[in-house]
């Protein structure tokens, strides 16, 4: 059983229990260590070989990983902490309060910076992994302040997420928003990295019992530190969103306005959380603009690419300033945090009723309000002189901006319309197609001579026909793909050739063909469903028309 003899793949792996014994850790500590260090099991190629001929389900880790953990200083911290807890429990049991106090003073604290630096050598690496971090922090920040998790962690999560949102607002980094039944998905682009996170709707959670909160808390501990460290680095805005100066200014503002509300610190935090305040910001450095203006003398193909890129950038710039100069007012039934974040990050101004939430910046009666967002079933007091005024109107379906349909996929007709719009119009004017936030609420538009808005509606109506035509064309194309276009002669040859495949190829081929067939079948099913639905709608409409006559 010499080590030299079995130089095979089996020596690369170690079972979880053996690894645990090697590290001399309890299972809980091992789990914690794995979470913090980002160690995960590996699936050996020849499981039976590694498992010494047994097929029992076992978790295997790479031996290199475990050796890597062996040198980890945080393991000692775990042990220290274990001893600390034991001493503390003993002191409590003996009611030695002096000892308790002394022990608490010397509570061992662990720092995870080095682990983060190790896992994410560059800032970009850290940004890439920010998806999970943000989702978890947003979830924890909505937890009740009493309960299973430490309150400090919840406060920290809240603070960090608010700061992050402020950063996104300041950097105009938000790109896509999607209101799903699970929560609100947002996609922001930071330093060219897409970051997607999901926020739950603002309701209290019913605590599931089948969830191990210790695991979640360990992850969250790591994530808070990662997110905290990600806040400050040199982002293009050149200034952290929440400098102490900004914090102070916000605080003084609050003091001046509503000193009766709550404790200063709390109200300042809430004020920040309301996201409506424009924080003091250092001027955007000119370097960014210069970088854009750079131009290289290029030949044909490059020039086209350059042109495309510039167009894209231009569209993005326009997109960023979508709501510039517009003033919104939220009714109280509208989710305030989410909408504030979205509208502010596209450059709009927000306010709401003072009694609803702290941080209202202007009143309902303010004459310069351009839009009012309403989500109420009843008729509001109608403003007859307004054109774009649709309270209580059934909204068109809300589509996911994350889906990019490939050839042969089913595309819902609404999306086809949007695509047609996008192609027909210049992209800057396409408000509804690019952002979903407009569609989500019934909107009362208190527009002050906002002429092009109406125009856009007209154009849209005109385009609808084009869209229909295009839709038909696409549908045809899809149907055509389905058709057997092989001619009879070649088809037979193909059948014969198919018979001559090797076994492995046959399986692969069958798999691929099955996948293709299923895809087509699913697309057809969706199309059929849609057709049936439209048919039902049409007949209903007809019946309605027929009745009054």
């Amino acid at each position: 059983t010499g080590g030299l003899e079995k130089k095979n793949s089996a020596t690369n792996y170690i079972t979880r229990n053996k690894a645990r014994k090697k590290l001399q850790l309890s299972l809980a500590h091992f789990r914690r260590l794995c979470i913090l260090k980002g160690i995960y099991p590996h699936e050996p190629k020849h499981k039976k070989k590694v498992n010494k001929g047994s097929t029992a389900p076992r978790t295997f880790y790479l031996i290199k990983d475990i050796k890597f953990l062996l040198r980890e200083p945080i393991v000692n911290k775990f042990r220290e902490y274990k001893v600390f807890v034991r001493k503390l429990r003993k002191a409590y049991g003996k009611s030695e309060w002096n000892t308790v106090g002394r022990l608490k003073d010397n509570k061992p604290n662990q720092k995870l910076d080095h682990i983060i630096k190790e896992q994410y050598p560059t800032f970009i690496d850290a940004l890439r992994d920010l998806d999970d971090v943000l989702s978890r922090c947003f979830l924890f920040s909505t937890f009740p302040r009493t309960g299973k998790c430490h309150v400090q962690i919840i406060y920290l999560c809240h603070r960090l997420t608010v700061e992050f949102l402020h950063y996104i607002i300041a950097a105009h980094a938000l790109r896509k928003v999607f209101l799903s039944i699970k929560g609100i998905y947002c996609l922001a682009e930071v330093l060219g990295q897409p970051i997607v996170w999901i926020t739950p709707y603002a309701f209290s959670h019913d605590r599931p019992t089948d969830v191990d909160y210790r695991v979640m808390a360990t992850f969250t501990e790591f994530y808070t530190i990662l997110l905290g460290l990600c806040q400050l680095p040199p982002l293009p805005v050149a200034q952290p969103p929440l400098s102490t100066k900004a914090r102070e200014s916000a605080q003084t503002e609050v003091k001046a306005r509503e000193d009766t509300y709550a404790l200063d610190s709390e109200s300042a935090m809430e004020k920040l959380a309301a996201l409506s305040a424009i924080l003091a910001r250092v001027v955007v450095p000119a370097a960014e603009e210069e970088a854009e203006a750079d131009e290289f003398p290029a030949d044909g193909e490059m020039a086209v690419q350059e042109e495309n890129r510039r167009k894209e950038l231009l569209a993005q710039e326009k997109h960023k300033k979508l709501f510039e100069g517009l003033k919104f007012f939220l009714n109280r039934e509208v989710p305030q945090e989410a909408l504030t974040f979205i509208i502010r990050s596209f450059g709009g101004d927000m306010s709401w009723d003072k009694s609803l939430c702290i941080g209202a910046t202007y009143d309902v009666t303010d004459p310069c309000i351009t839009h009012r967002i309403v989500d109420r079933p009843g008729q509001q007091t109608p403003v007859i002189s307004r054109y774009c005024y649709f309270p209580g109107v059934q909204l068109p379906p809300h589509l996911s901006p994350f889906v990019s349909e490939k050839k042969g996929d089913y595309i819902p007709p609404e999306k086809l319309k949007l695509l047609a719009l996008k192609r027909g119009e210049d992209p800057g004017n396409l408000k509804e197609s690019e952002d979903e936030e407009d569609e989500e609420e019934e909107k009362e538009e208190d527009d002050k001579g906002d002429g092009d808005e109406e125009e856009e509606k007209d154009v849209e109506a005109g385009l609808e026909k084009n869209g229909e035509a295009h839709l038909a064309a696409l549908e045809e194309q899809r149907l055509e793909e389905k058709k057997p276009r092989v001619m009879a002669g070649t088809r037979e040859a193909k059948c014969l050739a198919i018979m001559m495949r090797k076994k492995r190829e046959r399986y692969l081929y069958q798999k691929i063909m099955f996948g293709k067939r299923r895809k087509i079948w699913e697309a057809n099913k969706l199309a059929q469903k849609r057709e049936a639905h439209d048919e039902a709608l049409r007949s209903e409409k007809k019946a309605k028309k027929a009745r009054p006559v």
Binding site: I39, Y40, P41, H42, T59, L62, K64, F68, R102, D105, N106, N109, D113, K117, E118, Q119, P121, T122, R128, D129, D132, S135, R136, L139, L179, S180, I181, K182, Y185, V196, P200, F203, H205, R207, D210, V211, V215, F219, G228, P233, D375, R376, L399, S400, V403, P412, E441, E442, A493, K494, L496, A497, I498, M499, M500, R501, I512, M513, K516, R530
Partner: protein, 734 residues
Amino acid sequence: MAERRGVCLVVPEQGGRPAKRGLEFEPDYQLYASLQPFLLCDPASSLSDSEESVFSGLEDSGSDSSEDNNNEGEDEISCDKGHSRTEGQAQTGSPGLRTEMAKASSQDEYQEDSSDEEDIRNTVGNVPLEWYDDFPHVGYDLDGRRIYKPLRTRDELDQFLDKMDDPDYWRTVQDRMTGRDLRLTDEQVALVQRLQSGKFGDVRFSPYEPAVDFFSGDVMIHPVTNRPADKRSFIPSLVEKEKVSRMVHAIKMGWIQPRRPRDSTPSFYDLWAQEDPNAVLGRHRMHVPAPKLALPGHAESYNPPPEYLLSEEERLAWGQQEPGERKLNFLPQKFPSLRVVPAYSRFIQERFERCLDLYLCPRQRKMRVNVDPEDLIPKLPRPRDLQPFPTCQTLVYRGHSDLVRCLSVSPGGQWLVSGSDDGSVRLWEVATARCMKTVPVGGVVRSVAWNPNPTICLVAAALDDTVLLLNPALGDRLLVGSTDQLLDAFTPPEEPALQPAQWLEASEEERERGLRLRISHSKPVTQVTWHRHGDYLAVVLATAGHTQVLIHQLSRRRSQSPFRRSHGQVQCVAFHPNRPFLLVASQRNVRVYHLLRQELTKKLMPNCKWVSSMAVHPAGDNIICGSYDSKLVWFDLDLSTKPYKVLRHHKKALRAVAFHPRYPLFASSSDDGTVIVCHGMVYNDLLQNPLLVPVKVLKGHTPTRDLGVLDVAFHPTQPWIFSSGADGTIRLFT
């Protein structure tokens, strides 16, 4: 005192609380003093001082009553004292004195309070007076006479009149012990009123006097106690010393550590200030970053297009699926507006599952199969280039009424013989599909074989446990005649050897029908095949044991069993076309025997479950085997005993395989009703492997009773193929 106890005050109009308690609680001497005369001058009993002495005349009978009396006397005195003192107290106003006085007076009170005092006017004792409700009396006096209730003849009107007339009516109460009316005095009324309003019974008692501390806050010149200080206050404490020394020891030993200074570095700082662009991940290179979560599709929208919503059946199916199997882990729902969208109940679980995925799931880089399925189809030469091969059905030979098990083509290619389950052997003309002859044999014909020697016109047919040798008498007369001559030329040997089969001459009428010889065996015959020269005939019997294969010699009418041992159930045998080999296909393998050397030369392993048929390439170096597990196996004898290629073209069991004697073609027939013709080119260059290309799938037979095409044979000179099927037809494809 006794009288006071006995009186129960009932105030009729105000209906207040019983005054008895109040009286007991707060002794009011004045009241007591005032009550006494009132009791004494009770009109009914008309008691006087003297009478009181009569009451107290009890003194003779009991000693305690005398004490009582004494007490009463004392009481009087103390009462007086109290009066005087209270007056004095009122003058001095000293609180200390007052409490003292209160103490003293209370002492007095307890002295005169005795437990056995009772109302001695009525001697019934402490019994409920309701007991006397039905009697005219209420009790007995000291002399044992009845105390009668006063006459209550007054009706309500009288009472009313009394109420109107008598100004003291409101203060009149009834003494329940005696049943008489009492009139309360002013003092008594005042007392009752005070008690009713919750005040102290004593008029002079003020509950709101300023409190005076026992010890004043001022420093006095004299100490409270003059005790000298203890010795221990001068000596250092041993206990404390011990504690301190214990602490010192603990510090020395490192058990107690001084408070660590607070970490002054901020928890959040610019970690990536000095980024090392070349920094490799601290770990090995096999690290796989966690895959990102899948992005949401249209179905997850709060207001999805209607086609994404699940119908009722789909919803049910979704509910019945395992959570891991579901394509969507949520039910798509449509909400009219954002206001009514509820919280997602599985949000925390989903985040938790993500946690589990991150630290419990093995990560692997899976190569996505990005293969064009067209690339998986092998590039074969076009069938058109491999012509000629049979492409379409030209003739159907109808006549048999049951499935046609076997067929064989004459070496000239003009005639066709077929054996069927309907108990007949039919001979056909190939070119016209005309049935030339029908030979009824009366049994299932399992196998037919036309003698391959073109100079002999003879057909062997396997019927039950015999092999029939027929002369079909078709074609050249000369040929037919010479065949008959050949058969007749046999002269039986002197001493007939012991043979495993019997050779019998056909009877006259059988000869008429064409039968010439009959070789009868003990067991049913399953297959019959000729050697290429047409003299030897191999037969497969359906027995277990070593006599499964017999070889008959036609010219000498001899039979022999070549094997001494059996190697499993023999399925079929074949003679090698140009070498002295006999190929025996058993269930799982194919053995090649050298007939001259009488040894096993090769054992081929087709890797099939059950070999059904076998054919040898006319050049002799390649063999194909069909099997019931729908495989066709091609062996290259020069290459290996393992299959050169396994073709799985058919969907069902293979029944027959055949090589074309001239063209590079081979065919297989199967129970799925098809015949597949393949191009099987064998090159003379030994280094080049045979080229196998399927060229045509021939369909024509309709499968009946789960049987499709039972036999297949090529035309000896043309690229044509005959097939016989379970539908009772024979078909020719050209």
